[in-house]
Amino acid sequence: MIRLLTALLFVLSLSSGSARAQDADDAFQALASGSFDQVRTGVAQLVASGSPRAAPVITALQAGKLYASSDHALFIKQDDDSFVDAATGAPAPDVMASGVKPVRLNNAVRGAIDAALGALQLFAPDPAIRLQAADAVFTAHDPAALPALKKALATETDTTVKLHMQQAQAAALLVSDDASEADRLAAVGVLRARGDLDARGFLSSLSDQPPAVATAAATAITSIDRMLQLWGLAQSVYYGLSLGSVLLLAAAGLAITFGVMGVINMAHGEMVMIGAYVTFTVQQALHAYLPAFYPASLLIAVPLAFLVAGLVGVVVERSLIRWLYGRPLETLLATWGLSLVLQQAVRSIFGANNRDVDTPAWMSGATQLGGLTLTWNRMYIILFAILVLAALMAALRYTSLGLRMRAVTQNRRMAAAMGIRTPWIDALTFGLGSGVAGMAGVALSQIDNVSPNLGQSYIIDSFMVVVFGGVGNLWGTTLGALTLGIVNKFLEPVAGAVLGKIVVLVLLILFIQRRPRGMFPLKGRAAEA
């Protein structure tokens, strides 16, 4: 390794044009020599020479297609078993397979080849490849790459790539033997600024450093740890928010129906499931008949899911729930029965297996924000939840239906006396709540399995949200959903997913003791329910 390095440094010190051609010739000589040590040096020399033939020759060497003749000339074997001259790339028709021997490799040479190819990519025209190469060098942190890095840095214009190259350089520098203490300290600073798990791992693996550098590395590790902890916290909040918005979507409709009608709809989860299956059906239909619209499948599914689930809701209210007003516990049982029927119906139609719902291209992937990984689909779900919430609030606040709904929530008999047709309000409220659940189903189809049991897995959580937040108040529901989501995600790393959930449930049961009607209880006569 040291010899390789000195060779590289030596080569780099003579970097005028004519010397370069000379270097390349020397490199070819070394490659053809037959000694592993020399071949290794030759690889590094070839890269440093900047010869345009470096990439094809080293690739051929890696593939075992580089051959040397007895007079130390190099040839590359083509796929059709003919040979070309390694130094020029010109065809060499008079070379026979019997006259040449392949250049042999051992592990040391293979390592040099990997490093060399990585270094070569540092000069690739595509910045993405350069970035990848820089990261590869960082992972390998082989001091042999330092000269190449230095050259690449001199010409690099892309700031991101440059930053990564500097980090790679810092890492390589720290493991090299002859860097000055000042350089080392600066390198630790660069890595500390990088501040991710890789940088931490690298710093903690350092050994044999001067005492000042070792101390600097130790403080850098603590600082990185603190940063990572903060980012981890932020990541938990993000996960919590995304779980919370899912819960909010699932629970918002429940809160409305519960608030207005005092009815617990155990089939609410099945409305969510219906929404998810609408998404599946829309995707299937688009795929078969209108492939051009396929990327917009979710946009089409959202209103459709609202309509279908809402319609089911209205039908359920008219045919079932309205006969049970004043008997909330019986309603609970009847809607539970309904949920069994709906589940089995979906199972009969679509089968018991999970159905695949695609995530459109514009929703997949993730973006990196500092130490945060923000997946797009969760991002969109958070946005969607905000939109749905805003639309619901606007509907309750500014439409005449919303006004009537609020009136019925506050005092049903007074509202009826004022001429509001409460049965219609009930039906529409139930439809609205179910429709919102349907839209939640579209969102859930993106992050969960679409199966007949989809709704069941969310119904208890949705109830918890409603119980926690109080009924008839969307702000309470929002706060309840987000709190539960975030608490859940914070407990998960500490206690594990299952235990975390148990703790949340127990906390909720205890919370109910203090506030039997949720965080934002209804006041007045309605509170007597």
């Binding site: 008997r327 049982l333 029965g337 029927v341 127990v506 049961i509």
Partner: protein, 372 residues
């Protein structure tokens, strides 16, 4: 306490049927026309245990207005206590032959018996736990809930949360209750092999005895002065409170009693079905128990027993004959009973017989007032 005709009929039918099945199983040779196969005995025993659960639900729902959607949790806890005793009885006959640890603990690489398993090899201790564990959980939960006046659907939902939390907890291997697989492969109970026909017949008769005893006790409770207050609490809790009673104390007593009844049902259930696992805690199970009561007739006690037997017989038959249809049937049963048969099967007879209305359920005026 004077027993009316329904009560006598219930006692005679339950005891008579159990005894007849047991005798036909034991006294006739296999293959004869009168012989009752052992699987029928096990099935009947299972139904009787479910009837105990239904009775427990009816006691709190029908007479105190507490719709518990988590009663199967008490049932399962009683079952687990009995299961732990049965596990200890396996001794060295397990797959790993470890005298000190149940198989699943050996499998998990544990070396010592957790402290909460101590004593379960002793039958009286296990029996004590069958009563104490569900009872104490109900006491703590009920005390917290009733004291802060959590009622109606809120209470129903947190009972769901309770059983759901227990379901998740018992699924964990670290809990030391067998995790996902639960406990099974039992060998004997009090020295009798659980697989033997005679043991199964004996367990059936014992289940019938316990069911009758629970029925009598529940009847005694609801016909006593205490029961009258309970019904008052069910119908208008606030009015009862203003009359100077403490509804929460009355509810707590009947709640704990009911939990213990369910626990005993669970304890008898486990040796007869030969397995206990966390799925007994599934929220749906508790809701199904409520529908048994609704089918039989809420607030009639005898109806709860009839409902449990009828629905479970239907379930066995349907899942055997048309497995696809069972969920439809159960779902429509829920809807049909709540819509058209609010007093259940007992309501059909009551109309003809004009029984005294003292323990008839009725729609609570309080609820009607609020939403009406």
């Amino acid at each position: 306490m004077k027993l009316d005709r329904t009560a006598w009929l219930t006692l005679i039918l339950v005891m008579g049927a159990a005894l007849a099945l047991a005798i036909l199983n034991q006294a006739t040779p296999p293959g004869s026309a009168a012989h009752v196969p052992t699987y029928v005995i096990a099935l009947a025993g299972k139904y009787l245990c479910f009837a105990m659960l239904a009775l427990a639900v009816d006691l709190v729902w029908g007479f105190a207005g507490i719709l518990s959607l988590g009663h199967a949790a008490f049932f399962a806890l009683g079952g687990y206590a009995m299961g732990m005793y049965l596990m200890r009885q396996i001794g060295t006959r397990g797959v790993y032959g470890n005298a000190n640890l149940p198989d699943f603990m050996v499998f998990l690489g544990w070396h010592d018996l957790p402290w909460y398993w101590y004593g379960f090899s002793w039958f009286p201790f296990a029996v004590l736990m069958v009563v104490l564990v569900p009872g104490l959980l109900a006491l703590v939960f009920g005390w917290l809930a009733f004291r802060s006046r959590v009622t109606g659907v809120y209470l129903s939902i947190i009972t769901q949360a309770l059983t759901y939390a227990l379901l998740l907890a018992f699924f964990r291997n670290d809990m030391g209750f067998g995790g996902n697989n639960g406990m099974t492969d039992f060998k004997d109970i009090l020295g009798f092999s659980v697989q033997a026909d005679s043991t199964r017949s004996g367990l059936l008769v014992i289940s019938a005895l316990f069911l009758c005893a629970q029925f009598l006790m529940a009847r005694y409770v609801v016909t006593s002065r205490f029961g009258k207050v309970l019904i008052a609490v069910r119908d208008t809790e606030n009015r009862t409170r203003f009359l100077g009673y403490r509804p929460e104390s009355y509810k707590l007593v009947v709640w704990v009693l009911s939990a213990v009844m369910a626990g005993i049902g669970g304890a008898l259930y486990v040796p007869q079905v030969g397995i206990i696992n966390p799925s007994e805690f599934a929220p749906g199970n508790s809701i199904e128990a409520v529908i048994w009561v609704a089918v039989g007739g809420r607030g009639t006690l005898a109806g709860a027993i009839i409902g449990a037997l009828v629905v479970n017989f239907g379930k066995t038959w349907f899942t055997g004959a048309f497995p696809e249809v069972w969920l439809y049937a159960l779902g429509f049963l829920f809807i049909f009973v709540t819509l058209f048969l609010p007093k259940g099967i007992m309501g059909l007879f009551a109309r003809r017989q004009r029984r005294p209305a003292e323990i008839e359920p009725e729609v609570t005026p309080a609820a009607r007032e609020v939403t009406g």
